[in-house]
Symmetry: C3
Subunit: 144 residues, 3 copies
Protein backbone atom coordinates (compact mmCIF):
# COMPACT_ATOMS: atom_id res chain seq x y z
CA UNK A 1 0.00 0.00 0.00
CA UNK A 2 1.23 3.52 -0.71
CA UNK A 3 2.55 5.29 2.34
CA UNK A 4 1.90 8.67 3.89
CA UNK A 5 4.26 10.79 5.94
CA UNK A 6 3.09 12.91 8.87
CA UNK A 7 5.42 15.41 10.58
CA UNK A 8 4.94 16.65 14.10
CA UNK A 9 6.86 17.76 17.18
CA UNK A 10 6.57 17.55 20.94
CA UNK A 11 8.17 19.59 23.72
CA UNK A 12 9.08 17.95 27.02
CA UNK A 13 10.14 19.72 30.22
CA UNK A 14 13.13 18.03 31.85
CA UNK A 15 15.10 18.82 34.98
CA UNK A 16 18.87 19.23 35.28
CA UNK A 17 20.59 16.24 33.71
CA UNK A 18 20.71 13.43 33.75
CA UNK A 19 16.92 13.58 33.88
CA UNK A 20 14.81 10.89 32.25
CA UNK A 21 11.14 11.18 31.30
CA UNK A 22 8.63 8.75 29.84
CA UNK A 23 7.36 10.16 26.52
CA UNK A 24 5.50 7.05 25.33
CA UNK A 25 2.16 8.81 25.84
CA UNK A 26 3.31 11.78 23.73
CA UNK A 27 4.39 9.46 20.93
CA UNK A 28 1.10 7.58 21.11
CA UNK A 29 -0.90 10.82 20.96
CA UNK A 30 1.04 11.88 17.87
CA UNK A 31 0.38 8.48 16.34
CA UNK A 32 -3.36 8.65 16.99
CA UNK A 33 -3.62 12.11 15.44
CA UNK A 34 -1.65 10.97 12.37
CA UNK A 35 -4.21 8.33 11.42
CA UNK A 36 -1.36 6.01 10.44
CA UNK A 37 -1.77 2.50 11.77
CA UNK A 38 1.17 0.59 10.26
CA UNK A 39 4.71 1.78 9.57
CA UNK A 40 7.42 3.45 11.59
CA UNK A 41 7.82 6.41 13.94
CA UNK A 42 11.24 8.08 13.75
CA UNK A 43 12.25 10.85 16.12
CA UNK A 44 15.25 12.90 17.18
CA UNK A 45 15.99 15.33 19.96
CA UNK A 46 16.73 18.84 18.72
CA UNK A 47 19.85 19.93 20.61
CA UNK A 48 23.18 18.31 21.32
CA UNK A 49 22.65 17.56 25.03
CA UNK A 50 19.60 15.32 24.76
CA UNK A 51 19.04 11.68 23.80
CA UNK A 52 16.33 9.08 23.23
CA UNK A 53 16.17 5.40 24.19
CA UNK A 54 13.76 2.88 25.78
CA UNK A 55 13.69 1.53 29.33
CA UNK A 56 11.31 -0.07 31.80
CA UNK A 57 10.22 3.22 33.32
CA UNK A 58 10.24 2.47 37.04
CA UNK A 59 12.16 4.49 39.67
CA UNK A 60 14.85 1.85 40.18
CA UNK A 61 15.84 1.52 36.51
CA UNK A 62 15.62 5.30 36.08
CA UNK A 63 18.15 5.77 38.89
CA UNK A 64 20.37 2.91 37.64
CA UNK A 65 20.48 4.44 34.16
CA UNK A 66 21.31 7.89 35.59
CA UNK A 67 24.18 6.29 37.52
CA UNK A 68 25.49 4.52 34.41
CA UNK A 69 25.28 7.72 32.35
CA UNK A 70 27.20 9.54 35.07
CA UNK A 71 29.91 6.85 34.92
CA UNK A 72 30.22 7.23 31.12
CA UNK A 73 31.16 10.90 31.53
CA UNK A 74 31.24 12.11 35.15
CA UNK A 75 30.22 15.73 35.65
CA UNK A 76 33.24 16.48 37.83
CA UNK A 77 35.85 15.20 35.35
CA UNK A 78 37.91 17.58 33.19
CA UNK A 79 36.57 18.49 29.75
CA UNK A 80 38.20 20.44 26.93
CA UNK A 81 34.81 21.97 26.14
CA UNK A 82 35.15 23.93 29.39
CA UNK A 83 38.37 25.59 28.33
CA UNK A 84 36.58 27.53 25.62
CA UNK A 85 33.03 27.78 26.93
CA UNK A 86 33.06 27.60 30.74
CA UNK A 87 29.43 26.55 30.77
CA UNK A 88 30.05 23.49 32.90
CA UNK A 89 28.37 20.99 30.58
CA UNK A 90 31.26 19.14 28.94
CA UNK A 91 29.95 15.89 30.41
CA UNK A 92 26.49 16.61 28.96
CA UNK A 93 27.80 16.72 25.40
CA UNK A 94 29.74 13.48 25.74
CA UNK A 95 26.88 11.59 27.39
CA UNK A 96 24.36 12.66 24.75
CA UNK A 97 26.68 11.77 21.85
CA UNK A 98 27.24 8.27 23.25
CA UNK A 99 23.54 7.55 23.74
CA UNK A 100 22.50 9.09 20.42
CA UNK A 101 19.80 11.59 19.42
CA UNK A 102 17.42 9.37 17.45
CA UNK A 103 15.15 6.33 17.62
CA UNK A 104 12.91 4.31 15.29
CA UNK A 105 9.88 2.54 16.77
CA UNK A 106 7.68 0.40 14.54
CA UNK A 107 3.89 0.83 14.42
CA UNK A 108 1.33 -1.98 14.08
CA UNK A 109 -2.47 -1.66 14.27
CA UNK A 110 -2.19 1.89 15.57
CA UNK A 111 0.11 0.90 18.42
CA UNK A 112 3.81 1.30 19.07
CA UNK A 113 5.73 -2.00 18.93
CA UNK A 114 7.00 -1.93 22.50
CA UNK A 115 7.06 -4.53 25.23
CA UNK A 116 4.63 -4.27 28.13
CA UNK A 117 7.43 -2.99 30.37
CA UNK A 118 9.19 -0.88 27.74
CA UNK A 119 8.74 2.88 27.51
CA UNK A 120 10.29 5.49 25.22
CA UNK A 121 12.25 8.04 27.23
CA UNK A 122 13.77 11.45 26.56
CA UNK A 123 16.94 12.20 28.48
CA UNK A 124 18.24 15.67 29.28
CA UNK A 125 22.00 15.60 29.87
CA UNK A 126 22.45 19.36 30.18
CA UNK A 127 23.47 20.96 33.47
CA UNK A 128 20.28 22.98 33.62
CA UNK A 129 16.59 22.27 33.21
CA UNK A 130 15.54 22.30 29.56
CA UNK A 131 12.40 22.11 27.51
CA UNK A 132 13.51 19.59 24.91
CA UNK A 133 11.92 19.65 21.48
CA UNK A 134 11.62 16.29 19.77
CA UNK A 135 10.84 16.13 16.04
CA UNK A 136 8.68 13.14 15.05
CA UNK A 137 7.96 11.68 11.61
CA UNK A 138 5.33 8.98 11.19
CA UNK A 139 5.65 7.07 7.93
CA UNK A 140 3.20 4.36 6.93
CA UNK A 141 -0.27 3.47 5.82
CA UNK A 142 -3.57 4.73 7.25
CA UNK A 143 -6.11 2.29 8.70
CA UNK A 144 -9.16 1.37 6.74
Amino acid sequence: MDCKVICTEIAVRLDTGPDIRDITGDFLSALTVSGITDGVLTANVIGSTGSLTTIEYEPGVVQDLKDAIERLAPRDAQYRHELAWHDGNGHSHVQAALLGPSIAIQIRGGRLCLGTWQQVVAINHDNKARTRRIAITITGTPGR
Copy 2:
Protein backbone atom coordinates in the same frame (compact mmCIF):
# COMPACT_ATOMS: atom_id res chain seq x y z
CA MET B 1 8.94 7.18 -7.23
CA ASP B 2 6.12 6.62 -4.73
CA CYS B 3 7.05 4.41 -1.85
CA LYS B 4 5.51 1.36 -0.24
CA VAL B 5 5.71 0.24 3.35
CA ILE B 6 5.90 -3.42 4.35
CA CYS B 7 5.58 -4.51 7.99
CA THR B 8 6.92 -7.77 9.35
CA GLU B 9 8.46 -9.33 12.42
CA ILE B 10 11.07 -11.94 13.30
CA ALA B 11 11.67 -13.92 16.48
CA VAL B 12 15.19 -14.86 17.53
CA ARG B 13 16.19 -17.31 20.26
CA LEU B 14 19.00 -15.94 22.42
CA ASP B 15 20.81 -17.35 25.43
CA THR B 16 21.31 -15.68 28.80
CA GLY B 17 22.76 -12.20 28.28
CA PRO B 18 24.87 -10.80 27.06
CA ASP B 19 24.21 -13.05 24.07
CA ILE B 20 24.76 -11.78 20.54
CA ARG B 21 23.33 -13.31 17.37
CA ASP B 22 23.74 -12.53 13.69
CA ILE B 23 20.31 -11.68 12.24
CA THR B 24 21.48 -10.37 8.86
CA GLY B 25 19.98 -13.42 7.13
CA ASP B 26 16.61 -12.81 8.79
CA PHE B 27 16.62 -9.18 7.66
CA LEU B 28 17.58 -10.21 4.14
CA SER B 29 14.77 -12.78 4.00
CA ALA B 30 12.28 -10.14 5.09
CA LEU B 31 13.65 -7.82 2.44
CA THR B 32 13.35 -10.40 -0.32
CA VAL B 33 9.74 -11.18 0.59
CA SER B 34 8.86 -7.47 0.67
CA GLY B 35 9.76 -6.94 -2.97
CA ILE B 36 11.26 -3.57 -2.07
CA THR B 37 14.66 -2.98 -3.63
CA ASP B 38 15.54 0.59 -2.63
CA GLY B 39 14.81 2.43 0.60
CA VAL B 40 15.35 1.73 4.27
CA LEU B 41 14.80 -1.08 6.76
CA THR B 42 14.01 0.13 10.28
CA ALA B 43 13.70 -2.28 13.20
CA ASN B 44 13.39 -2.34 16.97
CA VAL B 45 13.58 -5.00 19.62
CA ILE B 46 10.31 -5.46 21.51
CA GLY B 47 11.25 -5.55 25.19
CA SER B 48 13.47 -3.40 27.39
CA THR B 49 16.38 -5.84 27.79
CA GLY B 50 17.34 -6.26 24.13
CA SER B 51 19.29 -4.14 21.65
CA LEU B 52 20.37 -3.97 18.00
CA THR B 53 23.68 -2.91 16.43
CA THR B 54 26.17 -4.09 13.79
CA ILE B 55 29.52 -5.89 14.23
CA GLU B 56 31.93 -8.07 12.34
CA TYR B 57 30.34 -11.32 13.48
CA GLU B 58 33.34 -13.46 14.36
CA PRO B 59 33.91 -15.16 17.73
CA GLY B 60 36.64 -12.72 18.84
CA VAL B 61 34.61 -9.54 18.31
CA VAL B 62 31.52 -11.22 19.79
CA GLN B 63 33.44 -11.94 23.00
CA ASP B 64 35.08 -8.49 23.04
CA LEU B 65 31.68 -6.81 22.75
CA LYS B 66 30.23 -9.01 25.51
CA ASP B 67 33.14 -7.96 27.74
CA ALA B 68 32.61 -4.27 26.95
CA ILE B 69 28.86 -4.55 27.63
CA GLU B 70 29.64 -6.23 30.96
CA ARG B 71 31.95 -3.32 31.84
CA LEU B 72 29.22 -0.75 31.04
CA ALA B 73 26.96 -2.30 33.68
CA PRO B 74 28.46 -5.30 35.50
CA ARG B 75 25.99 -7.95 36.54
CA ASP B 76 27.37 -8.13 40.09
CA ALA B 77 27.11 -4.38 40.79
CA GLN B 78 24.26 -2.97 42.91
CA TYR B 79 21.10 -1.82 41.14
CA ARG B 80 18.08 0.03 42.49
CA HIS B 81 15.88 -2.02 40.20
CA GLU B 82 16.64 -5.00 42.45
CA LEU B 83 15.25 -3.33 45.54
CA ALA B 84 11.76 -3.41 44.10
CA TRP B 85 11.85 -6.38 41.76
CA HIS B 86 14.50 -8.85 42.94
CA ASP B 87 14.69 -10.36 39.47
CA GLY B 88 18.44 -9.99 39.18
CA ASN B 89 18.45 -8.11 35.89
CA GLY B 90 19.22 -4.51 36.84
CA HIS B 91 22.35 -4.66 34.70
CA SER B 92 20.30 -5.93 31.74
CA HIS B 93 18.08 -2.85 31.72
CA VAL B 94 21.00 -0.45 31.88
CA GLN B 95 23.02 -2.21 29.17
CA ALA B 96 20.06 -2.33 26.75
CA ALA B 97 19.18 1.34 27.31
CA LEU B 98 22.76 2.42 26.56
CA LEU B 99 23.00 0.39 23.34
CA GLY B 100 19.50 1.31 22.18
CA PRO B 101 16.58 -0.71 20.80
CA SER B 102 16.51 0.38 17.17
CA ILE B 103 18.48 0.50 13.92
CA ALA B 104 18.06 1.84 10.36
CA ILE B 105 19.85 0.02 7.52
CA GLN B 106 19.58 1.38 3.98
CA ILE B 107 18.55 -0.85 1.05
CA ARG B 108 19.97 -0.65 -2.48
CA GLY B 109 19.24 -3.02 -5.37
CA GLY B 110 17.56 -5.50 -3.06
CA ARG B 111 20.54 -5.66 -0.71
CA LEU B 112 21.29 -4.26 2.73
CA CYS B 113 23.92 -1.50 2.68
CA LEU B 114 26.44 -3.26 4.91
CA GLY B 115 30.16 -3.81 4.60
CA THR B 116 31.50 -7.22 3.68
CA TRP B 117 32.50 -7.81 7.30
CA GLN B 118 29.49 -6.10 8.89
CA GLN B 119 26.52 -8.03 10.23
CA VAL B 120 23.35 -6.90 12.00
CA VAL B 121 23.12 -8.43 15.47
CA ALA B 122 20.43 -8.79 18.11
CA ILE B 123 21.66 -8.72 21.69
CA ASN B 124 19.86 -10.22 24.67
CA HIS B 125 20.92 -8.52 27.89
CA ASP B 126 18.44 -10.32 30.14
CA ASN B 127 19.60 -12.76 32.81
CA LYS B 128 17.72 -15.60 31.19
CA ALA B 129 17.35 -17.02 27.69
CA ARG B 130 14.75 -15.12 25.68
CA THR B 131 13.03 -15.39 22.35
CA ARG B 132 13.33 -11.78 21.24
CA ARG B 133 10.74 -10.37 18.87
CA ILE B 134 12.03 -7.75 16.45
CA ALA B 135 9.56 -5.57 14.53
CA ILE B 136 10.74 -4.64 11.04
CA THR B 137 9.42 -2.00 8.63
CA ILE B 138 10.69 -1.84 5.06
CA THR B 139 9.98 1.48 3.36
CA GLY B 140 10.91 2.12 -0.25
CA THR B 141 10.27 1.39 -3.87
CA PRO B 142 9.74 -2.00 -5.53
CA GLY B 143 12.05 -3.19 -8.29
CA ARG B 144 10.92 -3.11 -11.85
Copy 3:
Protein backbone atom coordinates in the same frame (compact mmCIF):
# COMPACT_ATOMS: atom_id res chain seq x y z
CA MET C 1 0.44 13.49 1.20
CA ASP C 2 2.00 10.52 -0.57
CA CYS C 3 5.69 10.16 0.09
CA LYS C 4 8.73 9.73 -2.10
CA VAL C 5 11.97 7.93 -1.33
CA ILE C 6 15.33 9.15 -2.57
CA CYS C 7 18.49 7.03 -2.18
CA THR C 8 21.98 8.45 -2.20
CA GLU C 9 25.42 7.99 -0.68
CA ILE C 10 28.35 10.10 0.49
CA ALA C 11 32.00 9.25 1.08
CA VAL C 12 33.95 10.94 3.86
CA ARG C 13 37.71 10.84 4.40
CA LEU C 14 38.61 10.25 8.03
CA ASP C 15 41.93 9.89 9.81
CA THR C 16 43.01 7.08 12.11
CA GLY C 17 40.34 6.56 14.78
CA PRO C 18 38.86 7.85 16.77
CA ASP C 19 38.43 10.60 14.20
CA ILE C 20 35.28 12.68 14.10
CA ARG C 21 34.05 14.78 11.19
CA ASP C 22 31.10 17.11 10.71
CA ILE C 23 28.96 15.77 7.84
CA THR C 24 25.96 18.07 8.32
CA GLY C 25 26.79 19.91 5.09
CA ASP C 26 26.91 16.62 3.15
CA PHE C 27 23.51 15.62 4.52
CA LEU C 28 22.07 19.04 3.68
CA SER C 29 23.41 18.86 0.12
CA ALA C 30 21.79 15.45 -0.33
CA LEU C 31 18.56 16.86 1.05
CA THR C 32 18.57 19.83 -1.33
CA VAL C 33 19.17 17.60 -4.34
CA SER C 34 16.35 15.24 -3.28
CA GLY C 35 13.70 17.95 -3.48
CA ILE C 36 12.09 16.52 -0.35
CA THR C 37 11.17 19.18 2.21
CA ASP C 38 9.37 17.24 4.95
CA GLY C 39 10.03 13.74 6.25
CA VAL C 40 13.06 11.90 7.56
CA LEU C 41 16.66 11.28 6.58
CA THR C 42 18.00 7.87 7.65
CA ALA C 43 21.63 6.90 7.21
CA ASN C 44 24.11 4.21 8.16
CA VAL C 45 27.86 3.81 7.89
CA ILE C 46 28.91 0.97 5.60
CA GLY C 47 31.56 -0.95 7.54
CA SER C 48 31.80 -2.27 11.08
CA THR C 49 34.33 0.24 12.44
CA GLY C 50 32.38 3.45 11.84
CA SER C 51 29.49 5.17 13.63
CA LEU C 52 27.13 8.15 13.41
CA THR C 53 25.85 10.52 16.11
CA THR C 54 25.39 14.26 16.75
CA ILE C 55 27.53 16.67 18.78
CA GLU C 56 28.28 20.36 19.09
CA TYR C 57 31.16 20.29 16.62
CA GLU C 58 33.80 22.41 18.34
CA PRO C 59 37.37 21.25 19.10
CA GLY C 60 36.77 20.83 22.83
CA VAL C 61 33.76 18.52 22.52
CA VAL C 62 35.45 16.63 19.67
CA GLN C 63 38.42 15.86 21.94
CA ASP C 64 36.19 15.05 24.93
CA LEU C 65 34.21 12.58 22.85
CA LYS C 66 37.41 10.97 21.52
CA ASP C 67 38.59 10.55 25.12
CA ALA C 68 35.28 9.00 26.18
CA ILE C 69 35.32 6.60 23.20
CA GLU C 70 38.86 5.60 24.13
CA ARG C 71 37.70 4.86 27.69
CA LEU C 72 34.85 2.63 26.40
CA ALA C 73 37.35 0.36 24.68
CA PRO C 74 41.00 1.42 25.08
CA ARG C 75 43.24 0.65 22.13
CA ASP C 76 45.93 -0.91 24.33
CA ALA C 77 43.61 -3.36 26.11
CA GLN C 78 43.52 -7.04 25.14
CA TYR C 79 40.99 -8.15 22.53
CA ARG C 80 40.01 -11.64 21.38
CA HIS C 81 39.64 -10.29 17.86
CA GLU C 82 43.44 -9.95 17.79
CA LEU C 83 44.03 -13.63 18.44
CA ALA C 84 42.56 -14.53 15.07
CA TRP C 85 43.21 -11.44 13.00
CA HIS C 86 46.22 -9.59 14.37
CA ASP C 87 45.07 -6.39 12.69
CA GLY C 88 45.23 -4.32 15.85
CA ASN C 89 41.68 -2.98 15.68
CA GLY C 90 39.80 -4.97 18.32
CA HIS C 91 39.00 -1.71 20.11
CA SER C 92 37.64 -0.22 16.87
CA HIS C 93 35.01 -2.93 16.51
CA VAL C 94 33.83 -2.62 20.10
CA GLN C 95 33.66 1.19 20.02
CA ALA C 96 31.67 1.25 16.77
CA ALA C 97 29.21 -1.40 17.97
CA LEU C 98 28.50 0.56 21.17
CA LEU C 99 27.91 3.85 19.37
CA GLY C 100 25.87 2.29 16.57
CA PRO C 101 25.98 2.58 12.76
CA SER C 102 22.75 4.47 12.06
CA ILE C 103 20.84 7.69 12.68
CA ALA C 104 17.45 9.23 11.80
CA ILE C 105 17.19 13.01 11.48
CA GLN C 106 13.82 14.59 10.76
CA ILE C 107 13.34 17.12 7.92
CA ARG C 108 11.08 20.19 8.02
CA GLY C 109 10.80 22.88 5.38
CA GLY C 110 13.87 21.59 3.57
CA ARG C 111 16.03 21.74 6.69
CA LEU C 112 17.41 19.13 9.07
CA CYS C 113 15.78 19.27 12.53
CA LEU C 114 18.95 20.02 14.47
CA GLY C 115 19.76 22.54 17.16
CA THR C 116 21.88 25.57 16.32
CA TRP C 117 24.86 23.96 18.03
CA GLN C 118 24.16 20.39 16.91
CA GLN C 119 25.98 18.78 13.99
CA VAL C 120 25.79 15.28 12.51
CA VAL C 121 29.17 13.55 12.73
CA ALA C 122 30.74 10.46 11.20
CA ILE C 123 33.26 8.68 13.41
CA ASN C 124 36.04 6.42 12.18
CA HIS C 125 37.09 3.98 14.90
CA ASP C 126 39.51 1.97 12.75
CA ASN C 127 43.25 2.01 13.41
CA LYS C 128 43.96 3.44 10.00
CA ALA C 129 42.63 6.30 7.88
CA ARG C 130 39.49 5.32 6.01
CA THR C 131 37.18 6.73 3.38
CA ARG C 132 33.85 5.90 4.98
CA ARG C 133 30.82 5.40 2.78
CA ILE C 134 27.52 6.46 4.30
CA ALA C 135 24.24 5.33 2.69
CA ILE C 136 21.44 7.89 2.95
CA THR C 137 17.71 7.50 2.36
CA ILE C 138 15.44 10.54 2.31
CA THR C 139 11.76 9.69 2.76
CA GLY C 140 9.05 12.31 2.65
CA THR C 141 7.09 14.79 0.60
CA PRO C 142 8.41 17.26 -1.96
CA GLY C 143 7.82 20.98 -1.52
CA ARG C 144 5.17 22.71 -3.52
